[in-house]
Amino acid sequence: MSPKTENRILATPIVLFLLVMLGFPAVLDILYSFSEVSFENLRSPTLNGGKNFIKVVNDPEFWAASWFSLKFGVATALSECILGLVLAVYLAPIIRKNNWMIAVLIMPMIIAPAMMGLMYRLVLHEFVGSLPHYLYLWLGDSPAFLSRENVFLTVFTIETLQWTPFAFLLIYMAYEAIPSEMREAASVDGTRPWRMFWFIEVPQMAPTLAVAFFIRFIDGFRVFDNIFVLTGAGAGGSTTSLSIYIYLSFFRSGDIGKALAASVILFCVAFVILFFAGRLLRRDRA
């Protein structure tokens, strides 16, 4: 058997699996996005050219949802990375001696985001939740966490609290991987702690910080679970992320063509971004 044949055989399981699981859906995605289709004619859609795309592009809600996702992704990724960095570096001296602390700190991210959303539904409830209870008790008032004005801040905080552990963990590992000789050499040279942090440690961790930011941005951008169970679409659609937009368009409004057109747009945008991110990464390495 030639190596070429072997390689093909080695690749067969995953390729077949992907083709079956995602190949057909991808083709259907594209086909239906150009069709007039609803539940009534699910099996016999009629092509309608780019009408669905025009509908999506002209839908202010689509843009609102895109903006929400973008804002949410950037804001949460940024805050998670900053908090994670602070925690990792500040706590490293005691974590080194007490490994179990990691287990405590990463617990939130092991819990399903959907369950986290449900927990907050409970925790933030004015009458059965503990947080408003204490706020009333100590401050005499509690904010409307999920009101239109505050809801973004609330879901932002929830996401940040759940996923800071992720950034923390990555950054902590990178921090610990900095060769101790490097720090020792710097301190022998008389480098002060702050300078050491900014000019030696941060550059060493830069690739990890970039990766952590990127992954958190992606996950923030495609957020669904926790927001969906907590507020759904939000008052007047104020917490409609792109994922929620697609879900609602499909299932609740039955506008399958529109939902799929939005999916295809999202796919293309994601692909373009990934393509450039990949190239950037490769250039970085080279």
């Binding site: 079956v20 057909f24 086909l31 539940f39 009534e40 699910l42 099996r43 016999s44 859609p45 539904r121 933030l124 409830h125 004015e126 009458f127 059965v128 509690s142 904010p143 409307a144 966490f145 999920l146 009101s147 239109r148 004005e149 809801v151 907590l230 507020t231 759904g232 679409a233 939000g234 008052a235 007047g236 659609g237 104020s238 609602l248 299932f251 609740r252 409004s253 039955g254």
Partner: protein
């Protein structure tokens, strides 16, 4: 498309060796899961299966989806021509959506005597009977007898009550017995019992509104505009949502929201949250589904307020007293494997024997006065249910159409958008009108 679909289906099925389970010779009935409806249906099915004249092939087997996304999934299944069940749940607001996949049914001869015409109508679409009604859903006004009583008796507070209503609503009102409330009284009462309006209020909030962007919350809201004469469309099919009635109703809600008469997070509230607020003793009165009565008036489940909670029909308006009403029922899936068996079961469900069994096991059928009288001692709550349904029940014009659910969905989005301050009333109504015209054309 169709052909390739089929090939792929065959290939995938063979590949994964997961073939749909083979036909079984029984009647599969898909019910509404997770509530008293399920228990009641199980009891009824048991009785039906024990009937000697039901052959083995026609015994009923029950299946239940989950509630979340139930209608979306049912829709997708029916559209795909599923034969996974022979009879399935129907709701008034979704009949139009499902009618194309259903077979009209013939009910028992005395169905009209058991349920009454108003209730049978909840299962009709374009003049045809598509199902047997099982449960009735409508809204009650839940209120705290202790607080209202105290207010009525304490004349010293009546001035304040008047001041508040004048300030916020522009009319001077005095406390009344809830059974005589207009929606204005409801609002005045809500404001009076709100801490931020009246610092002496024993409760934090006067009412709790369910304002989550969710279609069911729109149903709860609709009794109010209807009392001002609102409808979705007129006899000619013109959309009439941009009307004085809807403006009045939304305006009233907006006053309550802005005054803080409903909990701050109301925009994330639905059934469970509202009940929790009421049950915590921090709310004086609220509109809620009749189904909540079982929980809210049970001292075990709601220890703080159960004993001082009473229910009554919703307040009245210039056009009268109304409650949104919809029925749940069972229809026959035209693509089912055992259509005849399903028809027989549905027909049996409309008999007096079936309906009473169903009622006695926790169901909430809308029964005629004669039938309900026989079980009034066991289910006193069913008496007002039937009464309210026939006296105050309404369905918006177009409320049973194929796109009814999407209309509710649309209104939920636009109305919550307005109430939460995201857009103006004009904007919200204009968008709703445009959207509804598209959906209901």
């Amino acid at each position: 498309m169709r052909k390739s679909n089929k090939y792929l289906a065959t290939a995938a099925a063979a590949l994964l060796a997961v073939l749909p389970s083979l036909a079984s010779a029984e009647v599969t009935v898909l019910g509404w899961p997770g509530g008293p409806e399920e228990v009641a249906l199980r009891a009824a099915a048991k009785l039906y299966n024990s009937n000697a004249d039901v052959s083995e092939d026609n015994k009923v087997k029950l299946i239940f989806f989950s509630r979340d996304g139930f209608y979306d999934k049912l829709q997708a299944d029916l559209a795909a021509g599923t034969d996974a069940f022979d009879a399935n749940l129907l709701a008034t607001y979704s009949i139009g959506r499902y009618a194309p996949y259903l077979k009209p049914v013939t009910l028992s001869d005395n169905a009209a005597e058991v349920f009454g015409d108003a209730v049978l109508k909840t299962m009709q679409f374009e003049g045809q009977q598509f199902g047997v009604p099982t449960d009735l859903s409508l809204h009650f006004l839940y209120y705290r007898t202790d607080l209202i009583q105290e207010l009525l008796e304490d004349a010293s507070q009546h001035d304040k009550y008047g001041d508040i209503s004048e300030e916020y609503l522009g009319v001077r009102l005095s406390p009344k017995d809830p059974d005589n409330w207009s929606w204005q009284d409801f609002a005045a009462n809500a404001l009076y019992f709100t801490k931020s309006v009246n610092s002496d209020s024993p409760t934090r909030y006067g009412t709790v509104l369910q304002l989550k962007n969710l279609l069911f919350n729109m149903m709860v809201f609709h009794s109010l505009p209807r009392a001002y004469g609102a409808d979705w469309m007129d006899a000619d099919g013109n959309i009439t949502v941009d009307s004085e009635a809807f403006r009045e109703a939304l305006g009233l809600f907006k006053i309550l929201v802005d005054a803080g008469a409903t909990p701050k997070d109301s925009f994330s509230y639905e059934y469970a949250e509202a009940n929790a607020a009421f049950g915590a003793g921090q709310v004086a009165a609220m509109m809620q589904w009749n189904a909540a009565a079982a929980d809210l008036m049970d001292a075990k489940k709601t220890p703080v307020t159960a004993t001082v909670t009473a229910t009554i029909a919703p307040p009245t308006g210039p056009e009268g007293r109304f409650t949104h009403v919809h029925g749940l029922g069972l229809g026959v899936n035209a693509s089912g494997k055992n259509v005849a068996g399903a028809e027989a079961f549905v027909q049996w469900m409309s008999t007096s024997e079936a309906a009473t069994t169903y009622a006695l096991n926790g169901g909430a059928p809308g029964l005629s006065a004669e039938v309900v009288a026989g079980i009034a001692s066991e289910r006193p709550d069913l008496v007002p249910l039937g009464q309210f349904a026939s006296n105050y029940g309404f369905v918006m014009t177009g409320g049973t159409s194929a796109k009814a659910l999407s209309v509710y969905e649309l209104q939920a989005k636009e109305f919550t958008g307005f109430l939460s301050g995201g857009q103006s009333l004009d904007e919200a109504l204009a968008k709703t009108a445009t959207g509804m015209a598209e959906l209901l054309k």
